[in-house]
Symmetry: C2
Subunit: 197 residues, 2 copies
């Protein structure tokens, strides 16, 4: 039996999503086949609308206007603290924690000369300019731990005025984690980063 | 941080899908935010196109034209054998097995007077008419085993000319199944339905 092209085309799109296989994609398409034409039109429009999604000119986060809600907010206390991160999802994760009240700067990746990602591709000049213009006093490097991430942090640290406070997020045992199941590198880091009680 | 309305609207749609929670929905939206405007437009159109998806006038399966590829096919051998099933996905499952070479009839559900699904709602008249018009010689009831499914099968059996061959699919131990983990009802059915070797 051949399914109609309309179904197959849509299934093909769904199967592009991470973690969605052919079976799930077909299941989603079949689920949608029960929707009203109105719902389908609305969903279709939502999809198309995404093409005009804006990014904040300051931090690179998604935004409704020129600036995102964080960069626009006058209420966020620590406007002189800048948190440098890799991706938009990292930004959302930090926001979920509710701990940080400063501004963000999204790099969009890390330095990786092997695949042609240098300081220019990450727009590091824009970051350094922003640190000056916004009179940032504290830079928190919340870049993920990896060879490239570590190199990126070193590069940023070395390029910034040495009077500035530049810190990297702490590495160690995650909350709820168990030493028994953690890798040696994490345990070494946790011992190295021990804190006075 | 507030995400742009465009993202939230799309995430809302994704979270309607079965097995998709808020987190996965957001992940899918963020994944799509990297797509080109062209891809988004194509996907959006595919979604809208689904509103004009046709169903086969004969069997109720999705179709490109008036009739689906199975009802249209002259090559399928057993045009006089009709397999009655509940849903379109059941039809796809049977087709995947590759065993059945007859025609389908999709009920779209089973009799359930408590929620107001009677013979009319299932279009059983259309089924009985088809059995006569198409000179069907064998009816296979591949309705899932449940109280309502059993009642539906009995109702159909009683409404059909008693000269016709009416059978229900076999119940028993599934291939690769282990008696150890099967429920008592399935084991009873398997013993009852034992076959001469």
């Amino acid at each position: 039996m051949e399914l109609p092209k309309k179904l197959l085309d849509l299934t093909d799109f769904f199967s592009r999503f991470p973690g969605v296989g052919d079976k799930t994609a077909l299941r989603q398409t079949l689920f949608m086949s029960k929707w009203t034409p109105n719902e389908l039109a609305e969903f279709g429009n939502c999809v198309k609308e995404l093409a005009s999604l804006k990014k904040c000119v300051m931090c690179g986060m998604f935004a409704d206007d020129e600036k995102c809600s964080v960069c626009n907010s006058e209420e966020r206390g620590e406007a002189k603290t800048l948190c440098v991160i890799e991706t938009i999802t990292d930004c959302l994760a930090i926001e979920r924690s509710g701990f940080f009240r400063g501004r963000f700067h999204i790099l969009g990746g890390v330095l990786n000369p092997l695949v042609g990602i240098g300081p220019e591709e990450l727009g590091l000049d824009h970051l350094f300019e922003r640190i000056k213009n916004d009179e940032i006093e504290e830079v928190i490097l919340a870049v993920n731990p990896s060879v490239e991430g570590d190199a990126t942090c070193s590069f940023i640290k070395d390029s910034i005025d040495s009077n500035l406070k530049v810190e990297r997020i702490g590495f160690g045992v995650p909350m709820g984690g168990s030493l028994e199941y953690l890798d040696s590198l994490t345990i070494s880091k946790a011992l190295e980063n021990r804190q006075k009680m």
